[in-house]
């Protein structure tokens, strides 16, 4: 029997405008100094840009810092450490900022030479201004949810899976929250919450979430 949610899930979407801060770094040390003081939206932009920009690529590349340090400065070891920052485990931008700063500080304390980026390849710090918009998609059942999930843009998916947790500092992604709170689907909520959204493309993530919901819909206990 189809369960009707206490509250429908309203899909929203988001679009991002990029603002320049006018700050740029030529070395790891300069980058570190800037990262200590920039607004959280700058950290968010550079740790999440690749997720939304390169959604069609395989998991790499992970974040702007790792890309710049590896491909421009040629510091592969530091690049690896930055790429390995497990963004999914952070509950706020500030804790993420601290983790990145720690890695840079450790590197600088042991580095014998600090190589500058060639002219024209400096790291430009930018911030993301996010606009959240409603969409026409709304679901009161799991069946309707899957239908909408397959229709919405990847920016909508991105908002509900990423933005909800890290930028809005909600406990979990919006989908899991709705499954548990409005439908009592706690197992499904957990299964979706366990997905690491950072190690797959946005389309891959959409398929995984849809598959989990469809599996639940096929279960005889429903």
């Amino acid at each position: 029997m189809t369960t009707i949610a206490r509250e429908p899930f309203r899909f929203v979407t988001q679009v991002v405008q990029i603002e320049l801060t006018g700050l740029k770094a030529r070395t790891v040390a300069e980058l570190l100094e800037h990262l200590r003081v920039v607004p959280p939206s700058v950290i968010h932009q550079h740790t999440h840009r690749f997720v939304s920009d390169h959604q069609f690529l395989s998991p790499e590349p992970p974040n702007d810092f790792a890309y710049w340090v590896t491909d421009i400065l040629g510091e592969r070891r530091l690049g690896e450490q930055l790429a390995a920052v497990d963004i999914v485990r952070f509950r706020s931008i500030e804790t993420l900022r601290t983790a990145i700063i720690d890695i840079l500080e450790r590197y600088l304390s042991g580095a014998s030479t600090v190589r500058p980026a060639p002219e024209g390849t400096e790291f430009h710090l930018m911030k993301a201004v996010t606009f959240v918009l409603p969409t026409p998609y709304e679901a009161a059942t799991l069946e309707a949810f899957v239908h909408c999930l397959k229709k919405v843009s990847i920016h909508s998916l991105y908002h509900h899976m990423f933005e909800a947790r890290l930028r809005l500092e909600r406990e979990q992604n919006d989908f899991s929250a709705w499954f548990a709170r409005s439908l009592g689907e706690t197992d499904l909520a957990k299964a979706v919450a366990m997905l690491d959204p950072y190690t797959q493309t946005m389309e891959g993530l959409r398929r995984r979430v849809a598959r989990l919901v469809e599996q639940r819909l096929r279960e005889p206990s429903r």
């Binding site: 320049l20 006018g22 740029k24 069609f56 890309y67 201004v129 606009f131």
Partner: protein
Amino acid sequence: MIRFDDYVPVVGEAVTDELRLLADRLHGTTVCHVNSTPVGGGVAEILTRMVPLLNQLGVPTDWQVIKGGDRFYAATKKFHNALHGVSQEITEDDFAVYRSTQEDNLAQLNLNSDIVFVHDPQPAGLVARKAALGNRWIWRCHIDLSNPDPRVWTFLAPLVEQYDATVFSAPAFARRLGVRQVLIAPSIDPLSNKNRDLPPETIDAVLTRLDIPRDKPLITQVSRFDRLKDPIGVIEAFRLARAYVDGRLLLVGGSADDDPEGKQVLAEVRERVAGADDVLVLELPPTSHVEINAIQRASTVILQKSLKEGFGLTVSEALWKGKPVIAGAVGGIPLQITHRHTGILTHSVEGTAYWIKQLINEPDYARRLGENGREHVREHFLLTRHLRDYLLLFLSLNYPGEDFICL
């Protein structure tokens, strides 16, 4: 007539729906673009398409062009070069004619729209009327201001700082300013003759007509014969790669008849390739959009080995055709190519040769780069993304200082 709905098959309904939603949120806000020329150049080309699309989306948009005499255009040409960091002899008279031309235009133009969107330095001084009109003003800088002549910048900066927001095409082109600086890259139009899909018969016909054999993979650079596009470096890179791969180099550029330096560069190019049957040099008239499109589509690898570049939109044009592109890491090119993900960035003749060899010998990798490059352009460098950025920019004027906005 350009139609908004024609973009649906190219970018998908989700994108066009999003644009409609954003436009609705502007509730009829009126916009007036102001620039210095109705035709020719990238700004006019973009406005020709952007203005009708904004109107079709329900954002009443007008486009006005300032008028100036020869002395004004001579002065602003000098300003333009000086802002690019090229030394110029600038007199007080140049500044005076700039000021008086702004005054003359203020008497003629209707700038009463809710938002006045001024392009480039030529009409920047119109902002003097802002306080009296009480509307919002945006200045879009299409040029690289990273290393400007201090005298011209000192003159221009106080004007720029009166705007509500400024727009730059690449982070490296901007300067630290006391006003918001928004990053909006230029774009290509996927429906223009330069970029639209072409049937194989058209591609074949163009190549036959231009006498371009297809017996070997074509490695192509399309750009004017200019030292900054490094055509000699391209030939050297091809020669180095040629020892390991069988291909044909195609250098395609505009006619250099009215450009003395271009003529000289072309002569050097021709001299360098004299007698080589694996290099073709082609001069095409500036209207050869379909021809360039066909040549790019017939190529195996596309080069843009620039030594200095503005934004370098030719890279997006090549990527849009799904081709692997090897390009110099200068100007706006690194924004369009993420090295080894959406294309290849190089810094030398040897690096270019190495990657020509790799891409010809590894067609699967080359194909993947091309596919990623095309998707990257679809997401970031098409006219629809440009349109979205403009709509967001207009909306953001209502939320100064906020970075999370629920509409």
